[in-house]
Subunit: 289 residues, 2 copies
């Protein structure tokens, strides 16, 4: 990677292509009875999306000093978990959304029962993939198990699912500022923070460096959700668990910018190795402009 202004953008594009190729590879089956399920899983994962979690994972891996293919499984697993959470979130008994990324949602195409199973299958596949070891891997199995625990923690009741339960409750009882921060840090922030941490953990054993990545990940994750709220505000101004609804547009923008600035400062000691992560952080907040 050179230091011309375009280099990070090229690197991001290359990472995205690597992630999409690996997703395409793991979402296959030779068994005819599984064909429709696999088709529905592919519909749910491969029809668009920014791949922000896997890219953050791969970029953190490289920024932490990692080389080779040791983070690709974690990257792919993070996207599978993100996709499963969207499929279940879109169900009629949850948010009841019929369109996602400009296409009909999984349950609209394949039916509700199938959509439940598709989500279950994507979540299960994520852990299957996380437990795989690339040939010639130099990562200690201890680190791999740590990454597995971090990601399952971020996906579980203390992370995504906890956030979704609070969000579901907010639909009937509008939330206060503390509840909104809880939903945000859990529903979206936890998996983004885990993506950063997992990549870094696979790339380094240095606890001080890991701590910097952990702080960067937490701030980037929260900023990402605040920006999502800013973007949603135009479409759904009465969303119950919205940062903008609670604090107003201006304070939301300020908060996102401050979080990203603080996050970038954490990585400053890494020098040019953090260049790509800085760029991704800038992208996150730039979406709100």
């Amino acid at each position: 990677m050179g230091k011309s202004p375009e280099a990070p953008i090229d690197a991001l594009g290359a990472m995205r292509a690597r992630v999409d190729a690996e997703l395409d590879r793991v979402l296959r089956s030779a068994e005819p009875r599984e064909a429709r399920l696999v088709e529905a899983m592919r519909h749910s994962v491969l029809s668009g999306g920014k791949r922000i979690r896997p890219i953050l994972c791969l970029a953190s891996f490289e920024a932490a000093g990692g080389e080779g293919d040791d983070a690709i499984h974690a990257a792919v697993a993070l996207e599978l978990i993100h996709a499963y959470s969207l499929v279940h979130d879109d169900l009629p008994c949850m948010d009841d959304d019929s369109v996602r990324r400009g296409k009909p949602t999984t349950h609209r195409v394949y039916g509700e029962g199938m959509a439940v199973l598709v989500g279950d299958a994507l979540l299960t596949l994520a852990f299957d993939v996380l437990a795989r070891e690339p040939e010639g891997s130099t990562v200690l199995r201890e680190s791999r198990l740590e990454v597995l625990r971090k990601i399952s923690h971020a996906a579980g009741i203390h992370g995504i699912i906890g956030g979704q339960v609070a969000d579901l409750a907010a639909a009937t009882t509008p939330g206060d500022a503390a509840m909104i921060e809880y939903v945000h840090t859990h529903k979206t922030g936890a998996l983004i923070a885990a993506a950063v941490w997992a990549g870094a953990r696979l790339g380094t054993d240095d606890p001080d460096v890991l701590l910097r990545f952990a702080r960067f990940g937490e701030k980037a994750g929260f900023a990402f959700q605040v920006v999502d709220d800013i973007l949603d505000y135009g479409e759904r101004p009465d969303e119950p668990a919205s940062y903008v609804g609670c604090h107003g547009l201006e304070r939301a923008r300020e908060r996102a910018e401050r979080l990203i600035k603080e996050g970038k400062a954490e990585l400053a000691p890494l020098g040019h190795r953090a260049q790509l992560l800085w760029k991704i952080a800038d992208f996150i907040v730039a979406r709100a402009d």
Copy 2:
């Protein structure tokens, strides 16, 4: 463990109590916002059930020569996966069941959206628990990752979920004998076979011994589902994917007995160490008398 006829029964009771205590321990949270979710998870897991999968795992671990607490996490994870699959299977968009083990199903008590999240949370927790290492563990991390892959495989599209998709399809297109065998070996058999294999893998590194456990587990898993069909036949004689509906009661009984006999023969070289597993195998087929 002595050799009196009651000893295996006592040992089974003790294993069940160990599993229930550990399930109770992992299904807790100090965060008030998670209280209702955790309550719903406990309702789904702790209200009855035979614990056949965790007991098979622990008994296989000991029969393979394992000692100490190294199989308890796998045992608990298997029960969490079984419980999640029941919660999702009972949903209105799947089998639409309102009673399970004599109590109202999760979605009847907590609502559909919550039941989807409860299943997701149980599945995620299962992998979290699987990636944990008991203090002072002597199991190689390589074996732990292998067990993780085996269990995720049995839970995924080539196992439980594949069987459920075929079962869902059978509701509209009644199945032939090959389809019924596919549903059975996948929906129920795969996780039972994985329970046996996981326990054995954590207890031994000997590939020949492991192969015997693998064959025992496959036969026990299939027999278990055939017996379930025999028990269900009285209540739902028109069940589309039923072994009894396809082959008749007498042939179903014969098949279950033959499978258990063959399975037990696989473990004969283990001598008295296999005593408890033989007993469990006998219980499986005795349920059909």
